[in-house]
């Protein structure tokens, strides 16, 4: 290979960064559609939107991958996938694919990749997606980039440019897999916006099965214990979130956050120091090491706006920040800022929202 003529991105060590001829056949962008007990995880549709954009840039097709047991409604899921942008779906059914297990899913997905040869494969960064992605990438000996926050096509190499936070979110880095296929990436729920559904779209279904008997599989799924619905905190998919930070000063003051959340039907979020202090459950942490959220409204009280918090919530449609320090970093990316003491602003805001909503739903026009 003539190294001098190859345009190389940053990299050392004389390794091959050029795509071998036999891998140039790999075409199309795939999304692994994650489903469990009759429901598709919404992250799969978010990825479908991202896949559509990548495929349009490449002039390629988007395929959804559905794997499951004989009784699962995979065709229904496929129709939904078409609505969200898939051109085709690979539907693999086998008794051993009822309920997620690493071994049969790794086998099934690996075989599918080797047969149909996609150039890009996206999975949700969930406990299922990460478990599967790591095993499949190792089997296929290809590159995998975890927890991407942005996916693009590099114009020169036409490779997937996958951007992810690094060093605790202080910096971002863009990672590419140049000489191997498929290029694999995982993305956390809520990082990508939900695409619009077009119910009139349709697509092709390519059916298949997996030649693997239950007796060959070592790991058995004995039981699934669903989380009690009473303590299920669905922060990632909440439409409205009221979050508090260390600026709330005392755990008792968090009651003010809860009060506003109740009026708005919102979930309560928090920063890491608040979680570490034990004021709220760990599931409520927003940010780099917590949840990524994308609500329509995010109200942040007593939160400085550190980068590790910001990466988890800057996708919100509207961010309202309440902070006593006019120079707090959160005002650099909030849409509305109130400089003031959260302990007095929150009750006033709660009361104003309550009165406004009550007046409006009574059919009246609210006097300003």
């Amino acid at each position: 290979m003539n190294q001098a003529t190859v345009k190389r991105p940053a990299g050392r060590g004389g390794r091959n960064l050029e795509l071998p001829e036999h891998l140039k056949r790999y075409k199309g962008v795939w999304v692994f559609i994650e489903h469990d007990r009759g429901h598709v995880h919404q992250v799969s549709w978010e990825l479908m939107g991202a896949a559509r954009q990548l495929a349009d840039t490449l002039g390629a097709e988007v395929a959804g991958v559905l794997m499951g047991g004989p009784d699962e409604p995979l065709e229904t899921f496929a129709q939904e996938a078409f609505g969200y942008g898939a051109d085709l779906c690979y539907v693999t059914r086998a008794p051993v694919l009822a309920g997620y297990r690493n071994e049969p899913f790794t086998r099934g997905l690996t075989e599918l990749v080797n047969t149909y040869q996609p150039e890009i494969m996206l999975l949700g960064a969930t406990t299922m997606g990460r478990d599967l992605a790591g095993s499949v990438a190792t089997t296929l000996q290809t590159g995998l980039t975890a927890d991407c926050t942005e996916l693009n096509i590099d114009p020169t190499s036409r490779a997937l440019a996958a951007t992810r936070p690094t060093f605790g979110g202080s910096l971002l880095c863009t990672i590419m897999t140049l000489a191997y296929r498929p290029q694999m990436a995982t993305v956390r729920p809520r990082v990508m916006p939900m695409p619009k559904k077009d119910a009139t779209r349709s697509g092709r279904i390519i059916e298949g099965t997996l030649d693997l008997a239950e007796s060959e599989i070592v790991t058995k799924l004995l039981d699934f214990i669903p989380d009690a619905s009473s303590n299920k905190i669905n922060l990632a998919y909440a439409d409205i979130i009221v979050s508090g930070g260390k600026g709330m000063k005392k755990p008792e003051n968090f009651e003010l956050i809860w009060n506003l959340a109740r009026v708005l039907g919102a979930e309560v979020g928090a920063t890491r120091p608040v979680v570490q202090a034990g004021w709220v459950e760990a599931e409520r942490q927003v940010g780099q090491t917590g949840k990524t959220v994308r609500p329509k409204l995010y109200i942040a009280a007593g939160i400085s706006g550190a980068i590790q918090h910001r990466v988890g919530m800057e996708g919100a449609d509207a961010i309202v920040a309440i902070n006593s320090d006019p120079n707090a970093p959160i005002f650099d990316f909030a849409h509305y800022g109130i400089v003031g003491n959260a302990m007095t602003v929150l009750p006033a805001l709660t009361e104003a929202f309550r009165a406004h909503l009550a007046a409006r739903s009574a059919g009246g026009v609210v006097a300003a």
Partner: protein, 282 residues
């Protein structure tokens, strides 16, 4: 019983600072620690050793200084510590790392058969959660990720039952030993180092393995050469161009500020108001 726990030495990320102008990491003076997630794996391994007897070997790939982290693990009760260190490993991504660690575990197994391999859920500096699954695949071990509890371990029947965190619930899985477990965080509480362990930690020779000692067969698969991913760019987050609309409290009453906010918010986001109204109708 013989358990191998894979650990990584990482910079204490709480203390990392980024240079505001050059966007480079300021590593100077940042202390190195054992990846916090790995300590849950270590504790779980030590508990199994307490119950079943046997040995815990800690394994780390890293620079010579990573010896400190291995000693730390010995101070909690690990019996043996191996540092896989060689310039040839530099620049490894998760695929190359799992190849090197898998080779080393195979090598450890030649001295004494390995029953269980533990890793943390992920590291705090890489955050990928890919190395555990990679090692399992390369060693042909059953993979159990995000394990929250070991329910049952029967060493005669070579069977293990665990609970694993899944979306919306917990999977109960049974599999065969040997297998690889990635331990979920906050599932146990790390013990205090005992006096004898601390003395042992100060004295124990940390074994250093280069690539040959670690049984690396294919040097194309380690370090930068064995890494399919290429870091093409490192950069700081872009500031938002649009600034927040500021509502100051000093000039007006809290009520006015609140009403003002609500009005602006709902004018800009009418759907939001609609949604809230529909909710309160219900």
């Amino acid at each position: 019983m013989h358990i191998v726990v894979c650990i990584k030495q990482v910079p204490d990320s709480a203390q990392i600072r980024v240079h505001p102008v050059t966007n480079t990491i300021m590593r100077q003076g940042v202390p190195a620690i054992v990846n916090p997630y790995d300590l849950f794996a270590l504790e779980e391994a030590l508990r199994l050793k307490d119950r079943f007897g046997g040995r815990v070997t800690v394994l780390c790939m890293g620079p010579p200084q990573a010896e400190d982290s291995l000693r730390k693990c010995v101070s909690f009760g690990a019996d043996d510590a191996i540092l896989v260190t060689d310039r040839a490993f530099a620049g490894a991504d998760t695929l190359a790392t799992s190849y090197a660690l898998a080779s080393a575990i195979r090598q450890i197994g030649r001295e004494q058969a390995v029953d269980l391999v533990f890793t943390g859920k992920q590291t705090v500096d890489g955050d990928t959660a890919q190395v555990g699954p990679g090692i399992a695949k390369r060693l042909g071990l059953q993979l159990l990720t995000y394990v929250s509890r070991i329910v049952e371990l029967d060493m005669d029947a070579k069977k293990i039952v665990i609970e694993r965190r899944a979306e919306g619930g917990v999977q109960v899985l049974r599999t065969a030993v040997p297998c690889l477990i990635t331990m979920l965080e906050n599932t146990n509480e790390l013990r205090f180092a005992s006096m004898p362990s601390m003395i042992n930690a100060a004295r124990v020779p940390i074994r250093r393995w280069n690539k040959d000692d670690a049984g690396i067969e294919d040097i194309e698969k380690i370090g930068l050469k064995g890494s399919p991913t290429v870091v093409s760019k490192v950069f700081g987050p872009t500031p938002r161009t649009e600034k927040a609309e500021m509502l100051a409290v000093e000039e007006s009453s809290l009520r006015d500020v609140s009403l003002n906010l609500i009005q602006r918010l709902f004018t800009r986001h009418p759907g939001l108001e609609q949604q809230l109204l529909e909710r309160s109708d219900a």
